[in-house]
Amino acid sequence: MLTRVHTGLDPVPGVWWKPAHKAEKVWVSIAFAWCIVLFAMMPLWHWKGGQNPSGVRTRVTPKAYYARTVAFVKQYKVGTDRGLPIVAPPPGSDVYLVGLTYQWYPILKLEQGKEYMLHMSSLDMNHGFSLYPMNINFAVVPGFDYALRVTPTVAGDFRIICNEFCGIGHHTMVGRVIVVDSTGATVADNHTAQVGHGGGL
């Protein structure tokens, strides 16, 4: 016997814990199975997929992080652009990137197909690392060193947009990452660089 016909505005007399119709059970089962698929995809991608936000995450003081970055720049500096050092670390090494209002420091020069340990932190506010035009986005939080293993799969002249509001000059905060291909061809100046347009859904 079903509960008598009533709307959501009516109080429900008696016991309303009644079995659902088969159609409802089917939909709830499909939805539940789908939820399990949604859940399973994440561990699965850690296992089989190539893009995960895991990394190595440690606490760091802004002062200590800045000292590491300065040493890193000194060791591998190969040039300058607009007053910022261009730094070309060897493949496999630790790479340090600093966000501070309103600058990404330094400019990185990496090799296509080689893995690097990319460290990111902030010296002041929260910043947002957004790699144009790849559309790769990470949060950069002061006091934390977010170290991600990255392998640039395409060469080109990339930008780092800040996508976390950090103050009135937020929209001027743009950095640069250069990726050279396996023949060693450099992409020296961003005006001649070939940058594909990212996009999708």
Partner: protein, 582 residues
């Protein structure tokens, strides 16, 4: 009616026969009016923002863009929505249960706290002493009064939630209704419980931040702030979801006589919201350095997507309830006669259906997808995020609240809905404009266009960022859609203000006669066939087949499910094109 209620000033509603406590009615009115004022401020801010992000217009200077962005967030996500929810709580607790409100004077005190709190926040924001946006992430620091205003507002809202529970207790004790409380009240109760959880997280983060702003604490851990703040910021949106679903059930009942398919299924889904929803803070921390993959996966998925399951259940039971309700009224032909013959010109109904469809298809699907741990890498802080939440909060919640208002104006304010012809098209205008905004934002965000950003031409930046020219088209969609949507919002405000303050009084609801300014659900209330119970049993019987009483809805949710799978897996494919990251 109970003896206690009879002693209090009350009236009998001419449309529904319910006893309405006048003290509660005044609280409903005042909260709804303030909500509409906040909507006016928020919508004006929205217009300015849309015309700034539209690069060809680029209206505001940088400082004012960020300032108005903070104003927009606060007015829409906090003041408009929560004041309206306070009205919903007073309405559901008293009117729907024929009950008296618990301590109405304390209700006015709480209303006062919320009003003072919101005016304080407005003053700080407009005067440029709180240029920290809605999220106010430290180390960005605002004037201490900004944080204090939010705390006062939250204390008031927490007080009203407490009064709602007290009202439920009184109604139960005084036996103002027989059996279990109606499903709509149950949904409102779900919203109130989530509100308590949310506001406690708010206290946990805003009190230390206030102490930091006056120099008592030395610093706030920015990552801890992000965790606790989003337990407020995201959970607050789940109050909206629960309140919105409750209103879906209410509008379904009022406009087309929607029935409750199965109380067990619908109520269990509400319980899932309560149990799992505050884990959603993790949606905002998926690419943060403070948390590991296991924590992110468990939390972002509400422990295996149990809150998503709840929404998918309501996504079935709400339209199915409408379908069955219509079938029991005689609209039985084919799959979709119930939908074709629905009252599409009733703004209460069109708001309901637009809210359900856009919330589910756009807000729901995009939300689950971008809230996936790895897919968030291609979505975090891009325009895809506001593209998603405008579909949930604006096209979903605000649209449902607008639809409810078209019924509250005659029922609670006892006035005709003014500018009735405008009211009939207002939901379509608003929803259409918002869809343009949402598509524009989502597509622009897929190209990496950041949210909360004054100038993506990067004119003052050291390096050029040559976004694809198609991005300009998407941002123009945001601008033009914004103009249309704000026109829809202004129309709603003009209709509401004219009706409430200068509208024609309604003292009776003539049956069976269409009256301009009164939604059809009140003059021609949906009535089920006399033998509805027998028809219902027959439709549910095994002889009727496995598709049961609501075959049309099964088709609709099937389409939804296909769209969901397509969008979800397409995003995994797009993710796989990126650099290797781990």
């Amino acid at each position: 009616m109970s003896a206690t209620l009879a002693l209090r000033p009350s009236r009998i509603c001419p449309a529904t026969g319910r006893t309405i406590d006048l003290g509660a009615e005044r609280l409903i009115r005042v909260n709804a009016v303030v909500a509409v004022v906040a909507l006016l401020v928020g919508a004006t801010a929205a217009l300015l923002l849309a015309l700034t992000r539209w690069q060809a217009v680029h209206l505001l200077p940088a400082a004012w863009y960020y300032r108005i962005l903070g104003v927009h967030g606060m007015n829409m996500l906090i003041f408009f929505i929560i004041f309206f929810e306070m009205a919903v709580l007073w309405f559901a607790g008293t009117v729907l249960l024929n009950a008296r409100p618990a301590a109405p004077r304390y209700g006015w005190f709480n209303f006062g706290l919320m009003l003072v709190g919101s005016l304080t926040v407005e003053t700080m924001q407009w005067s440029g002493r709180a240029d920290v946006l809605y999220t106010s992430y430290p180390p960005l620091k605002a004037h201490p009064l900004f944080y204090l205003g939010i705390i006062l507002f939250a204390v008031g809202a927490l007080g009203v939630a407490g009064q709602f529970f007290a009202t439920l207790t009184i109604a139960k004790r005084e036996k103002t209704y027989i059996g279990s409380m109606p499903l709509v009240v149950y949904g409102a109760m779900t919203a109130a419980i989530i509100a308590v959880i949310t506001l406690l997280h708010g206290a946990m983060i805003y009190i230390p931040t206030f102490l930091w702003s006056i120099g008592v604490l030395k610093g706030i851990n920015p990552q801890m702030y992000r965790l606790l703040w989003w337990a407020l910021g995201h959970s607050a949106q789940q109050i909206n979801v629960a309140a919105m679903v409750a209103i879906w059930y209410m509008l379904g009942a009022l406009t087309v006589g929607a029935v409750v398919l199965n109380e067990k299924v619908s109520r269990s889904a509400f319980v899932l919201y309560i149990l799992f929803i505050s884990m959603a803070s993790a949606h905002h921390l998926l690419v943060d350095p403070g948390f590991g993959p296991a924590w992110k996966i468990v939390n972002t998925s509400y422990f295996m997507y149990m809150a998503v399951l709840a929404s998918m259940v309501h996504g079935f039971t709400v339209p199915a309830g409408m379908e069955l309700g219509m079938r029991l009224r005689g609209y039985t032909h084919g799959m979709f006669e119930w939908l074709r013959k629905a009252p599409w010109g009733d703004p209460g109904f069109s708001s309901l259906i637009l809210s359900v469809v856009v919330f589910g298809f756009f807000g729901g699907i995009t939300g689950v997808t971008i809230g996936t741990e790895q897919i968030n890498i291609i979505a975090h802080n891009t325009l895809r995020i506001p593209g998603h939440f405008h579909a949930t909060v604006v096209s979903g919640t605000a649209m449902a609240f607008m639809g409810a208002t078209y019924y509250l104006i005659p029922l609670i304010f006892q006035r005709k809905v003014a500018f009735w012809k405008l009211a009939r098209i207002q939901p379509y205008l608003f929803a259409g404009g918002m869809l343009l905004v949402e598509f524009g934002m989502t597509f622009a965000g897929s190209f990496g266009v950041p949210r909360r950003h004054w100038d993506i031409s990067f004119a003052q930046a050291p390096f050029d960022v040559p976004f694809s020219p198609i991005v300009d088209l998407f941002l123009a969609m945001v601008g033009i859609g914004g103009i249309i949507a704000v026109t829809g919002a202004y129309s709603f405000i003009i209709i509401a203000v004219k009706s409430v303050f200068f509208g024609e009084r309604v003292t009776e609801f003539p049956r069976g006669v269409a009256v301009e300014g009164i939604p059809q659900g009140l003059t021609n209330p949906p009535v089920h066939s006399a033998d509805a119970n027998e028809i219902n049993e027959e439709l549910h019987s095994p002889a009727h087949g496995w598709a049961g009483p609501t075959p049309g809805t099964l088709v609709l949710v099937g389409v939804f499910f296909l769209a969901f799978m397509l969008y979800y897996f397409t995003n995994w494919k797009l993710l796989s094109f990126l650099w290797k990251i781990g």
